[in-house]
Symmetry: C2
Subunit: 274 residues, 2 copies
């Protein structure tokens, strides 16, 4: 389970340049159910987001949870109750069908993965879309800050920490972070660059000693793949979108729908507008 | 009715420097009910906020309204339902008593102004604190950008516009803006400076022609005082905290409590952390 992915796409089934394709064109393809893979590398410059669909009776508490923990839970859009049109995030978005693949959790356990959740959407459903690290990784790459997990063709490593979330109702737990090894100079540039992206986790939450934030073994991430350090590189940690997913799973909600890791909502919002 | 004030304080009843006083010390004085005036000029460097207390059944829609209209409705804190302790905004805050003066609205009409609303707080009450322009005005002043309304000892002028808010449930209407006359050079600096304060309305929404955003007569503000232009100055418009107050008043909520204009919650949050 990982909400943030940076998988390297070896090949795609699409007869066009996915990086240049419009979000609407791609969502239209996903709507048909013909593609259930990653959205990494698609629609360069547009914000992608994590999804969580929960019943309305939990929505106010979850909304407060996100407001109180903005680095790990930056809300980019919330649906009206029972209305699957995410009209604030793009033209003609149907949140039940326009993501390549959905995870369905019952009582906190993954039950199925499906290309559509029309049959699970109800009058009391509320969809939350939360920023992911795709946007800031794109900005780092453009600025010449190398990302080791991308070079290695792996998923970014993610870790549980001892940083307590600020609780709201049934939502609590601790922060999950992603980690990227960098030179000291790049860690400074990366801090300044990502500070400009508050809706995609913003600046780092920690640089240096993993122990200081409760990570015992940097070589054994809780999600994603281990990565590699070069001489004199330091670990740089960002708040991660797995945090709200964890909080939701531990909140005792009977039915939750999320995106399948790596398979995100591509919005019409420019990353630079965040 | 105006949520944003920059009144010049001629004198204060306090035997100490209010600019250097801690937020907690001042809140403790307000709690006794002995002072019901403006908080302008108090606790330099700390975020002050607008208040709206509404029943829980309206809170999810209002939370969505604020998420969709972040420039005019930047949430800095939300209470748990029925719990008057705004624990995310400071030490020992009781939102029912720690603001100098409250406005009580029944069916959209101002009923009373009171130094405490303990008797109106219920098990279903939710308090929203929304950023105000005090923080960014302080930053502008420190950067040497003159603020005409402060020089004149007046309240900043505010106007209804034709900029539609993104609706959420019963909350809609149009954006209210505040206006500050500036030289072109200062308008550019002010844009860059206020862009760093997303939780206190952020960068301007418009510069130049008032007609373009539906303001017919710049000399007749809908709230606050008229101001004066010097040669070659342009009007610079920011989204204003009166916007959510208007939206709440038009939403048909039976009982709403707000701060009295100018008399804000002083939080323990540093403005520079926003």
């Amino acid at each position: 389970m990982a909400l943030m992915h940076s998988e390297v796409i070896e090949s795609t089934p699409f007869p066009f340049d996915i990086g240049k394709a419009s979000p609407k064109k791609l969502r239209g393809i996903f709507r048909t159910g013909s593609y259930q893979g990653t959205t990494a590398g698609m629609s360069d410059g547009y914000t992608q987001g994590n999804l969580a669909i929960i019943p309305e009776r939990f929505a106010l508490d979850f909304s407060r949870f996100c407001q109180r923990n903005p680095k790990s839970c930056p809300i980019v859009g919330v649906s009206d109750t029972g209305n699957p049109s995410m009209f604030t995030l793009g033209e003609d978005i149907d949140i039940r069908t326009d993501i390549p693949s959905y995870n369905v959790y019952r009582e906190g356990q993954l039950e199925t993965m499906q290309p559509s959740v029309e049959h699970l959407w109800g009058d009391d459903s509320v969809a939350f879309v939360i920023g992911c690290s795709f946007s800031f990784e794109e900005a780092l790459t453009q600025a010449g800050v190398p990302l080791r997990h991308q070079e290695l063709g792996r998923t970014c490593p993610m870790y549980r920490t001892n940083i307590e979330n600020i609780r709201s109702g049934p939502f609590g737990g601790t922060m999950v972070v992603s980690m990227r090894p960098m030179s000291a100079a790049d860690s400074i540039r990366a801090s300044a660059i990502t500070a400009r992206f508050p809706h995609t986790h913003g600046m780092p939450v920690h640089i240096g000693s993993p122990q200081e934030i409760g990570i015992k073994n940097i070589e054994k991430p809780d999600w994603g793949d281990p990565t590699e350090f070069k001489n004199n590189e330091v670990p740089v940690f960002w708040a991660c979108g797995v945090t709200p997913q964890n909080a939701i799973q531990e909140a005792g909600i009977p039915l939750v729908v999320t995106h399948t890791p790596g398979s995100m909502l591509i919005t019409d919002c420019r990353s630079s507008e965040n």
